[in-house]
């Protein structure tokens, strides 16, 4: 059991990334995620790993993809405006099935917005920001311990499923200094040393992951941003393209048991379900405690995996008896449409939304609970 220390949220994420084996970081400074780049610039050379500050966010993600293809675990950290710039390369990583971790510390938006204020307004962009059909995994930690474990899980998921993973934080979680103890040794997923037959990298059964090799592994492979066949060669043949699109989506959707994770608090006998993630979940946790003391049977569902959305578990385990739903998110209403679609028609739905940079307090959530 290591001793506890006071660490900034960004520092916890950086520490977790280094423990997960991240050996390439390319970034561009942006408030509020610059500390991750700064810590990486110090620690990476100390550990004989690689750090570079690129000329913009587009270049940062390009360099990360290049390094990932060359066999390194690559990561970058940014905020709203930078995340918007990275979208094209995010799609490139999705079609090439390239492992990658992107930390998006959400701030007030859109455009330049409020650089020093939190928000949770990039959640839909994390799912559909880049053009075209693609699967994505997005994780939303809330406590300082989750900042550590979810970062390690982000690396593990990206390596296992050959897909970019987005870690969604917000400005408060990233900048707050909190008491933190490193959890017991986490399992790190090492990149598979595949052997491939006749350069067939992408063909597999539905639900499986590609057996793709990196560069310099003894094969001369071709990686492309164009739609490709099993060998990676560009193609527009409808049957092949349909198969590849299905394989890419289903490698995530067939493995929801492994990818979807969530926390619940007092949900066993709850009447009202609060759906909140990130900084809103922190307030909701206190709100549930106070509500219970006042006799209101509230419970919290905190998704740790936001995308793919935990639809199945919500429908099968919770919306069978929950009739009241409160969605709390620090934006003008994004995830609420998703969960309200998942909930049954007879569920009473309310939501707390604002995007003015002031996180919700437990008492605001309690006041809304009393309106049910």
């Amino acid at each position: 059991m290591s001793k506890s220390q006071v660490l900034q949220g960004n520092a916890i994420v950086a520490k977790a990334a280094l423990d997960a084996g991240c050996d390439f970081f390319a970034g561009y400074p942006i408030t509020p995620s610059s500390e991750i780049a700064q810590i990486m610039s110090q620690r990476m050379p100390q550990m004989n790993r690689y750090f570079i500050q690129m000329e913009d966010e587009i270049a940062s993600l390009g360099a990360c993809i290049g390094a990932s293809l060359a066999g390194r675990k690559a990561m970058t950290a940014t905020s709203g405006p930078g995340f918007s710039l990275m979208q094209e390369h995010l799609g490139s990583a999705c079609i090439g099935e390239i492992p990658l971790v992107i930390v998006n510390v959400m701030r007030g938006g859109p455009a330049t917005g409020m650089p020093t204020k939190p928000s949770q307004a990039d959640v839909m962009q994390a799912r559909w920001g880049t053009h075209g059909d693609h699967p994505i995994i997005a994780l939303t930690p809330a406590t300082s311990e989750e900042l550590y474990t979810e970062t390690i899980r982000a690396f593990n998921l990206s390596e296992k499923y050959y897909n970019p993973v987005i870690l969604l934080l917000d400005e408060v979680l990233a900048k707050a200094h909190e008491d933190f103890t490193v959890p017991d040794k986490s399992e790190i997923y090492l990149r598979k040393k595949e052997r491939i037959k006749d350069l067939n990298m992408f063909d597999r059964k539905i639900g499986d992951n590609p057996h793709r090799v990196d560069f310099f592994r003894g094969y001369s492979i071709h990686m492309d941003g164009l739609e490709h066949d099993a060998h990676g060669w560009p193609t527009i043949d409808p049957a092949t393209v349909d198969k590849m699109q299905t394989l890419r989506m289903q490698k995530i959707y067939h493995n929801l048991d492994d990818i979807v994770k969530f926390n619940t608090m007092e949900m066993e006998d709850a009447d009202i379900m609060i759906f909140a993630f990130g900084i809103s979940a922190r307030a909701a946790m206190s709100a549930v405690e106070i509500a219970r003391r006042q006799g209101i049977k509230a419970g919290l569902f905190q998704p740790l995996t936001l995308w793919p959305f935990p639809k199945v578990v919500l429908r099968e385990k919770f919306f069978t008896r929950i009739k009241k739903l409160l969605t709390v998110e620090l934006n003008m209403g994004q995830i609420k449409y998703e969960i309200e679609r998942v909930a049954r028609d007879d569920v009473e739905k309310k939501s707390l939304n604002r995007a003015n940079g002031v996180p919700f307090t437990p008492f605001e959530i309690l006041a809304k609970l009393k309106e049910f």
């Binding site: 390319a26 270049a59 390009g62 360099a63 993809i65 690559a74 560069f215 094969y219 001369s220």
Partner: protein, 276 residues
């Protein structure tokens, strides 16, 4: 069997380019240089962006990467930094290197990272149907300049020399032997090296400017390029619109980026010398 044929991926032939397109000559010149240096094909990666020149890597029997438009240098930077011992070659066209990718070009030059770049200059955006590019000569007619181009073109060699690139040269596809020689020298250079190759696009550029067949446009290119010696003997009026070929800049004083990272940053970091 020619020595360079082990670097050619024949199963992807025939090439998709128009008859007479200079891209094939560039493929051969690069393959000959790689054969001369005798590098293992599995230790090489050839990256390219979007465009007709972006299909060049497909024909190499090495690791190949076809990236987004204009960002090939960023992918190459990531690969080179994380695997400094490998050979990384980038092929870019007009738009890829100077329009959308202009920023990455000057930063790669400034960093002096050991990427070997071939900038294919055919004066047009060929793949999308013939729109003007930052390298289209003035007064030329293209799909997006139907009244004549009013923008001057970049001088790539001047631009890169000002960005402190440590090896800059220019050649044309009309002189294949000279092209091989300059590409070989650029590959042997340790830092960031760029060779601008003036190529012919008679289908898209030439079609609207009375240079419709490969022979006519090749002769036109020949008339517009001179050797360095001839360039010095030209008068200022004669110099307009004419370009000197050869190596403009070749300096070895600056250390290459990944070497500097290994020799300066890593030892300092490990000796516990924190930033001030």
């Amino acid at each position: 069997m020619r020595k360079y044929e082990k670097y050619i991926r024949y199963r992807t032939f025939p090439t998709p380019w128009c008859p007479g397109c200079g891209n094939g000559v560039i493929v051969r010149a690069i393959a000959i240089s790689l054969a001369e240096m005798d590098i293992d094909p599995k230790d090489i990666v050839v990256c390219a962006g979007i465009g007709c020149s972006g299909r060049i890597p497909t024909f190499f029997n090495t690791n190949t990467l076809h990236t987004t438009h204009g960002r090939a240098l960023t992918f190459a930077t990531g690969i080179k930094l994380s695997r400094p011992d490998k050979t990384v070659i980038v092929i870019s066209g007009d738009g890829d290197a100077l329009a959308i990718g202009g920023n990455h070009l000057i930063h790669a030059a400034r960093r002096n990272i050991g990427i070997k770049m071939i900038l294919v200059n055919n004066g047009i955006y060929g793949m999308t149907g013939g729109q003007c590019s930052p390298l289209t000569p003035r007064r030329f007619y293209t799909e997006t300049t139907p009244y004549g181009n009013i923008e001057p073109k970049f001088d790539v060699v001047d631009l890169l020399s000002a960005s402190k690139a440590s090896f800059v040269g220019r050649e044309t596809v009309v002189r294949p032997k000279a092209l091989e020689k300059i590409i070989l020298k650029s590959f042997q250079h340790r830092g960031f090296s760029v060779v601008e190759v003036i190529s012919n696009c008679h289908i898209n550029l030439g079609r609207k400017n009375k240079l419709r067949d490969p022979i006519a446009i090749s002769r036109w290119i020949k008339s517009k390029t001179v050797s360095q010696k001839q360039w010095e003997s030209l008068s200022p009026e004669e110099k307009i619109g004419v370009y000197p070929t050869g190596i403009r800049n070749e300096e070895n004083e600056r250390m290459e980026y990944t070497d500097l990272y290994q020799k300066h940053i890593v030892p300092n970091a490990q000796a516990g010398l924190k930033k001030r």
